[in-house]
């Protein structure tokens, strides 16, 4: 089977500048005396995700999970290496990914669709399903800036999963929303699985990854530490986490 996502030996460097100049005057005055530091957020990552696979990615805060997701989504470019994806990619990376506050929910759905390369007509057909799924009701015609955070996420999720994506990238948003909505999300994920879609899910939840994913990966300080069966990977990850916590506690005492 052909891989849906190919990550070929990529690294990502962020060049951060402490106290960057905010005006041209400052930039000229501080010429040559700028403090810049390089952060390698990801190092030599290679990963093939077969089409139809549900892949769970875990790791500590700051391990580079979200950055990897952004690279695959095309928001950032890798410093070195290549990323290839095959098929329509839909990403849900943050609360209300890609919504414009001044536009209504409905207008945002069209705008989101446009970003995925979907025509207005296609989105009109999907609209009812999206409104139904999100449970937003009449608020669909109100500007999204008045939405609650739950409504934001629900609408974002409804768009992401109802545009029949071939690749879906999700960053720990499933945990938001009430239980009923979470249940709906899981059902939708299973439907996606039947349609042969590929899922890349970033989560801290061991139970979610065990329940949903076929393969799991563990990112540790920008390196891919382990890839394989979800149970095995999550066991090792949890063991490692417990160990480091022990070390911290012992050191404190």
């Amino acid at each position: 089977m052909e891989p849906a996502i190919v990550v070929d030996n990529i690294s990502k460097r962020f060049r951060l500048e402490f106290n960057p100049p905010s005006s041209i005057k400052e930039a000229v005055l501080r010429l040559g005396r700028r403090q810049k530091r390089d952060f390698w957020v990801l190092r030599d990552i290679s990963l093939n995700i077969e089409a139809g696979t549900f892949f769970g990615l875990t790791g500590h805060n700051g391990s580079g999970k979200s950055t990897l997701l952004r690279l695959i989504a095309g928001i950032h470019r890798p410093t070195s290496g290549v990323i290839r994806t095959k098929g329509r990619l839909s990403a849900l990376l943050e609360l209300g990914s890609g919504f414009h506050p001044d536009l209504t929910g409905r207008e945002n759905v069209y705008l989101n669709g446009a970003m995925l390369g979907l025509s207005r007509r296609y989105m009109s057909q999907a609209m009812d399903e999206i409104i139904e799924f999100s449970g937003i009701g009449d608020y669909i015609d109100a500007p999204v800036k008045i939405y609650s955070s739950g409504m934001y996420v629900r609408l974002g999720f409804a768009v992401a999963v109802n545009v029949s994506p071939q690749i879906l990238l999700v960053d720990e948003v499933v945990a938001v929303g009430d239980e009923k909505f979470q249940q709906k999300c899981l059902e939708q994920m299973n439907k996606l699985r039947e349609s042969g879609a590929t899922l890349l899910l970033v989560s801290h939840s061991a139970s979610l990854i065990r329940q949903l994913c076929d393969t799991a990966g563990w990112l540790d300080h920008g390196r891919l530490r382990k890839v394989g069966d979800p149970s095995a990977v999550m066991d090792e990850y949890q063991e490692y986490t417990a160990q480091t916590e022990d070390t911290v506690l012992t050191a404190r005492n």
Binding site: F14, H100, L103, G117, S119
Partner: protein
């Protein structure tokens, strides 16, 4: 419409859909919460015409440029205000695109950190929306000219001049919007530069009034080098003098506008990726 879009490549289709969406958004939110709404698009340029024709036409008594092939006797369209208006539509579109570009990029900056989309579509969409406002302006201009009996088929050249002004403005807008994302000084600087540039283009004066040389500089030649001067000249010819613009002017200004647009877009595409990575 659907048939055309089916023939385009997916990337182009995405860009076109996005440009349409951004243009709609810009048009929809522009005069939100205002009573007169899009009428402001007409009131603003008309007020400028009024002020300048008062100062230059009435106080300084600048003679309106003579229309040689005027159709009425005496020539009713021969007025300083109309000469001014026919140049001002070009200038207004040009500045709206340049200053707008910086705002349009700022407007999608947060969005761009969350989803990937070709960022230039936000600027192109904004440009489409201000272009449509310019069309409103030229409708008024056309109506006045029809009433005064000073209209001819040369008027269509004005549309081409508007396209060139927008393209030239986009070329500059693409570059300065990237600069502005880093240093907000650019916004203020551009405001001043555009104010100065306005008086370097024959809009409130007639090219014949400009001396060949001043302070040892060939000022007239320099003025004519400016592509905006040429584009404004095309507009004057098309709307006010009712002459067919010279082929030479059409070609050089098109080349300038096309080159500026292409270079600006290339630069923008290379740098816009980095903008979205900045905290």
């Amino acid at each position: 419409m659907a048939d055309i879009s089916a023939k385009l490549t997916p990337a182009v289709r995405t860009s076109v859909t996005l440009i349409v969406n951004f243009a709609k958004r810009e048009t929809k939110t522009l005069y939100k919460r205002s009573i007169l709404g899009w009428l402001w698009s007409l009131i603003r340029p008309l007020s400028t015409v009024l002020i300048y024709s008062l100062v230059f036409g009435v106080i300084y008594r600048a003679a309106p440029p003579e229309i040689l092939n005027c159709k009425t006797e005496p020539c009713k369209a021969e007025s300083f205000a109309l000469y001014l208006f026919s140049g001002l539509v070009i200038w207004n579109l040009f500045t709206a695109v340049v200053t707008g570009s910086m705002q349009w990029l700022k407007g999608v900056n947060e969005l761009r950190k969350k989803v990937y989309f070709p960022t230039e579509t936000a600027i192109l969409g904004g440009a489409v929306s201000v272009f449509l406002q310019s069309l409103l302006e030229i409708l008024v201009l056309a109506a006045i000219m029809i009433i005064l009996g000073n209209i001819s088929w040369t008027f269509v050249y004005l549309l081409w001049a508007l396209v060139l002004a927008a393209m030239f403005g986009l070329g500059i807008g693409f570059v300065v919007s990237i600069f502005n994302a880093r240093y907000r000084d650019i916004e203020y600087l551009m405001g001043i530069l555009l104010n100065i540039a306005f008086f370097l283009v024959p809009i409130v004066f007639v090219p014949d009034m400009v001396p060949e040389e001043a302070y040892g500089l060939p000022v007239k030649a320099l003025m004519n080098l400016n592509p905006i001067t040429t584009i404004v000249g095309i507009s004057h010819d098309a709307v006010y003098f009712l002459n067919t613009p010279s082929i030479y002017d059409m070609i050089t200004s098109s080349a300038w506008a096309g080159a500026a647009f292409a270079v600006g877009l290339m630069y923008f595409r290379r740098r816009s990726m980095q903008i979205s990575e900045e905290p």
